[in-house]
């Protein structure tokens, strides 16, 4: 038992060396790894993911919120949500090479497709599940449709909507690992090109992507908590206290 564990620890030590210090590529010819390259690829992965998430949110949020408010189009929201989840990203990138070529546009579209379903479904459900009595009361007070959405429904739906954004963001940032297949160099470069970076590079890439996804998840979880209205939290605390 001790031998394989030692071997495993060795490869992890090697991959951490790869992250912090540059070394010669497998085939010679250039220096690879080291913090400078790691940060460069990490940064690309972050901005391409942020871009894809922003586009996905810009499309899915208004549609989901509007449909959820009207309480119609459930079929549409759910169907798009489910269909979107089934799209194979690799195939999408490969097909789009024929239409838009390689590069940022290709990867952004592919990742956006991944982000839309959870955001759309969650914003629809979030708006839909707001207590009808509360909405009626708001209307009774003379609020306009816009005011009802902005002041009543949205704040109450935020936790659910943010849950969708969080899922979408985590999916996107993790999947951005395959972006090098379309010529955008993210941390996946280390993983996909073992022939250049060696086994240490592959493992280093895997560790970095896992940590990045975890960081995104935790950051957005914190954001979700911050955005949740005080009222809902109190309600939840009460519910917990009474049960």
């Amino acid at each position: 038992m001790s031998v394989p564990v030692a071997g495993l620890l060795d490869s992890f030590t090697g991959s951490f060396d790869f992250i912090f210090d540059s070394r010669e590529a497998v085939g010679g010819g250039l220096q690879v790894g080291g913090l400078e390259q790691v940060l460069e690829l990490l940064w690309t992965q972050v901005w391409i993911s942020a871009l894809a998430l922003a586009v996905a949110a810009a499309i899915a949020l208004p549609v989901g919120i509007y449909l959820g408010h009207r309480g119609s189009g459930e079929l549409l929201a759910v169907a798009i949500g489910n269909a979107g989840r089934a799209v194979p990203e690799l195939a999408l990138i490969a097909i789009m090479i024929a239409f838009v070529g390689v590069g940022v546009l290709n990867v952004t579209i592919a990742l956006m497709v991944l982000g839309i379903p959870p955001i759309l479904t969650n914003s629809f459900v979030g708006m839909r599940q707001v207590d009808r009595g509360t909405v009626e009361a708001a209307r009774g007070m003379g609020m306009t449709t816009f005011e009802v959405i902005r002041k009543v429904e949205l704040p109450l739906a935020v936790p659910t909507i943010m849950g969708g954004v969080r899922t979408g963001a985590t999916n996107i940032v993790a999947t951005a690992t395959i972006a090098p297949l379309a010529g955008v160099l993210t941390l996946g470069d280390f993983i996909l090109n073992r022939n250049v970076y060696g086994p240490d590079g592959v493992l280093a890439g895997a560790i970095l992507v896992a940590l990045l996804a975890l960081a995104v998840e935790l950051t957005l979880a914190a954001a979700q908590r911050l955005l949740t209205p005080r009222g809902i939290e109190l309600e939840r605390e009460q519910a917990r206290a009474t049960t």
Binding site: F12, T13, P180, G183, N193, N195, V196
Partner: protein, 330 residues
């Protein structure tokens, strides 16, 4: 850049615990596409004869993951199958480093490699030291492969090299005809395979010998199969092509720049096998290999590449056609 080694070890241990589980959960899925196109032999000078003694000898034929290699892999695999061997294939091994590792570790029994690639990538030859003569280059690789416990068989008639290619339109516009001319155009976007970055007969050589240090900044590694699409779509100004590519002969759309400093050497294909596989396979193995590659002239190889890349034929079918057209199989 240095960091506290103890801190690093601690990080490593934590990461090991969390991620080992994930890795353990991921199996490796390998695709084996054994071809069942063996057939009986007919009396023809080149025809491959099925030897019943060979059945029960299992060989796995490998190749790298681009058209020419896959077609060659299929040709060798189908020929050996016709000779009676039990053949399976693994024709998507990625770059030369991966293929060599697979061969050394016994995952494959043999695969086709270019003499120039073997010498520059495996045996640290400078491009100018790669012999221009196919036989001389073969003899160099033969010795070096023997040191690794591998057997190299004599070369094919055709040879192939990397080339810096671009749209003819762009070349005319910029008025460039050779790689040296690029010294005033180092802001051009160059696309190539991921391993091009470290290969002396690719980007590393363009830097070292031509002094084109500006190219790396605008270099984008992409899948080797997209080398023409990136030019067509306008993503790339320059793309690393192969001199045996069908596209270079079926149209005037693309031009390759003259390698005026001879940094991108041409290489013939040599079939490389592990000593173990060669010993087990016996005399028919070498005989079949040498016979089946006899007709692989430059024209024939280009034609085979064209059938796959331009006519969208299946590589296995193109290989089978080659074998029957030259009378190896019925």
């Amino acid at each position: 850049m240095s960091t506290n080694p103890r801190l690093r070890a601690a990080f490593a241990a934590i990461a090991a615990l969390t991620i080992a589980l994930v890795i353990a959960a991921c199996g490796d899925d390998e695709e084996d596409s054994g071809d069942s196109s063996s057939s009986s032999t007919e009396a023809s000078s080149a025809a491959i004869e099925e030897n019943p003694d060979n059945s029960g000898i299992s060989l796995t034929i490998g190749s790298k993951n681009f058209t020419e290699q896959i077609v060659l892999g299929e040709i060798y695999a189908q020929a050996l199958e016709a000779a009676g061997y039990d053949i399976s294939t693994d024709l998507s091994l990625g770059s030369e480093q991966i293929a060599l590792k697979a061969l050394e570790e016994g995952e494959i029994s043999a695969y086709p490699e270019y003499t120039s690639t073997a010498l520059t990538s495996f045996f640290e030859f400078a491009p100018e030291d790669v012999p221009g003569d196919a036989q001389a280059a073969f003899e160099e690789t033969e010795d070096d492969f023997a040191d690794l416990g591998l057997v190299a068989y004599p070369p094919t008639p055709f040879s192939s090299a990397n080339a810096v290619g671009l749209l003819t339109e762009t070349a005319d516009e910029l008025g460039i005809t050779s790689i040296s001319d690029l010294s005033d155009h180092q802001d051009l976007a160059l696309y190539g395979s991921p391993e091009c970055r470290q290969r002396i007969d690719c980007l590393a050589g363009l830097e070292q010998y031509y002094g084109l240090d500006g190219l790396r900044e605008n270099f984008t590694p992409v899948d080797i199969g997209t080398r023409y699409e990136v030019l067509d779509k306008g993503d790339a100004d320059l793309s690393i092509l192969f001199t045996t590519d069908a596209q270079l002969f079926t149209s005037d759309e693309y031009t390759t720049l003259e390698d005026d400093m001879s940094v991108l050497p041409a290489g013939n294909i040599i079939f490389v096998a592990s000593q173990e596989a060669a010993d087990e396979a016996g005399a028919d193995f070498q005989e079949t290999i040498e016979s089946v590659q006899e007709n692989l002239s430059l024209e024939v190889m280009q034609e085979l590449n064209a059938r796959v890349d331009v006519d969208r034929e299946n590589p296995a079918d193109a290989a089978a056609e080659y074998l029957s057209e030259f009378g190896y199989i019925e």
